[in-house]
Amino acid sequence: MSEGSEVLVAHEGGRIAVRKTYKLYMGGTFHRSESGRTFVVRDASGGFLANAALASRKDARDAVVAARTAFGTWSGMPAHNRGQVLYRVAEVLEARRTQFASEMQVATGVSTETALHEVDAAVDRWIWYAGWADKIAQVRGGMNPVAGPFLNFSVPEPSGVAAVLAPQDSALLGLVSVIAPAIVSGGTAVVVASSRYPLPAITLSEVLAASEVPGGVVNVLTGDVAEISPWLASHLDVNAIDVTGAPGVLADDLAAAAAHNLKRVIRPPFGDWTTDPGLDRLIGYLETKTVWHPLAW
């Protein structure tokens, strides 16, 4: 037992702490891997933290089915309501601020102050994207003044199901920064958590489950990104892939595999997660639909 993990495992007065089982999050509920496999997650000092589920190819495929099933409801919801749901995630995350900070501290060894700062930034990131839900259409869409008696306008629409490989280094802020833009416009996601820091992703899933995010909108897999991601990159019912969490060579391979059904590949240059995220990621998950209609007396 390392010193840091005492934050999680209190045993005052001889009481033995109750440990949590970390499962996969799919279709709104928590499951062990169908493969029965787990892997050991260690804290910053190398001590045992938990056995996380080691997701398999079948888990990944099941997660895609859950994401596809949720797509109709989520993308059909008014943008205002999606914004409300994302804001609710921020509210619930803020309320669990210290829980996340202590988990991050244990996992990464950062100071309390740094951990709290990252949680705050993650809350603010949800709020930033919550506000975009009912605004992106006016920023990215509009009327087209075609030369003829037609009403012609363009609107952004979500691509569909995204595979999101969360960054390996940023356990919460980076994770939120890749999930929120994938879902804010109505898309649904299969997220592969950081292999190094998978536990905050599962704890975040508990926040999502408590925030009225419909089941299946975000599905979280833990395991080996190199094992799972090729199946997602080549999956014909996945419409986009964010390869942020894959090391360089693997990312190239995944982008190439994604070309099979012309997935949208999200691969922004590496950035500092604490800076203004801009619109690149959000726009990466959008299609543009143009509608023509005649004008006549």
Binding site: D124, I127, W128, G131, D134, Q138, P149, L151
Partner: protein, 487 residues
Amino acid sequence: MRFEYAPAPESRAVITLRDSYGLFIGGSFVAGSSVFKTISPATEDVLAEVTLGGAEDVDRAVAAARHAYERTWSVMPGKERGKYLFRIARLITERARELAVLETLDNGMPILQARDVDVPLASAHFFYHAGWADKLGYAGFGPSPRPLGVAGQVIPWNFPLLMLAWKIAPALACGNTVVLKPAETTPLTALLFAEICADADLPPGVVNVVTGDGGTGHSLVAHPGIDKIAFTGARSVGKEIARMCAVSGKRLTLELGGTATNIVFDDADVDQAVEGIVNGIFFNQGHVCCTGSRLLVQESVAGTFLDALRSRMARLRLGDPLDRNTDIGAINSRAQLDKITSLVSSGTADGASRWSAPCTLPDHGFWFPPTLLTEVPSASRIMQEEIFGPVLSVATFSTPEEALVKANGAPYGLSAGVWTQQGALLLQMSSALRAGVIWANTFNRFDPSSPFGGYKESGFGREGGRHGLEAYLDVVSAGDVGGGIGV
């Protein structure tokens, strides 16, 4: 077949009225120099005593707003400003029933409209604009648009809380501070809103509420410490404000009502159109700036359409605004009732035929039955002036061109409605109508993301949506000035 309705009154127990209300200046309620009483238009009972803001009160409020603007609000990062607006949105929703009952008591609108339209839209407006506070650089007004400063906002009595939200939410999101003057007859929800601002820990002075009458509004518009005026109300007052701002150089947006026309073509779905037109004119007793007060029906279907309309109107339930079965509430004031009565008389004197729905008017309070005027001459005052009451004037047309001439002939241009199953005709009419909002096969739809505002003498500037932000941003110099506020 007629159904009997048991009374279904909303409880007044959710509200606690104080005997007397001060002005909300610099984050707390303060006494003013004199007071007036606000009454319930449904019963004429006094609800509370309210402060009549004088010139010196306006001066204090403007000073508080200026202080908050310079020290706090304009220098706060947008994402933090936004959090206050999110809080306000949530607090409005949490106190929604209380606000709705208070609105109905003070205004006379049916409780269902207060509960399902006025209050939830007000909350949604804050929620929507909260999200803009840290995204102003993406709104198309330059990379770092700046706020204007202190906004003086004068709002009407028809949707007191919603009009407050339309004014305050974008102003705050863009980094301005405000002095709001609610309508003389409906100050109470604005005062409850002031409590909500305090509960949200909104920095003192960011929102100031000065109740009063026309004189209070005049002091606000004339105050040299104000950078921008936003006014919703009567056209004559709007023109006077425009003259004042022309001299003072204040930025100005105006929303001045209208005489919206609903145009029904012979292929329209009759049931859908009747429902939409009834909603369009009788919603909130016609106390809606975009109310569909004029109806143009294509000649070939006019007879059957008007029969269907009368039949629907006869089933409207007029009475206690707090009753959940009520469709038509009270007229907001005796002055407004007198104006409606006078305009209807002028219409019948011009040759129009009057038909009113058979309903019993309560003994106390201000009431006017849902009324139809047919064979109204185009030049009649009632076709040209805003009546702001439950009175629908009907004329007919034979061709789309004729309908357009009649619809566009009014000096106003706030909104219009078109009813037809032909998409191409619908859109062609929409592009030819000279009005700021066109409803196609629907009417009186509002959304915080949808810009609202008029053409011609209905005013200028838009409220809502990306376009509405412009009213509170210094977009002229945004490209020239570095820095700007935090976004």
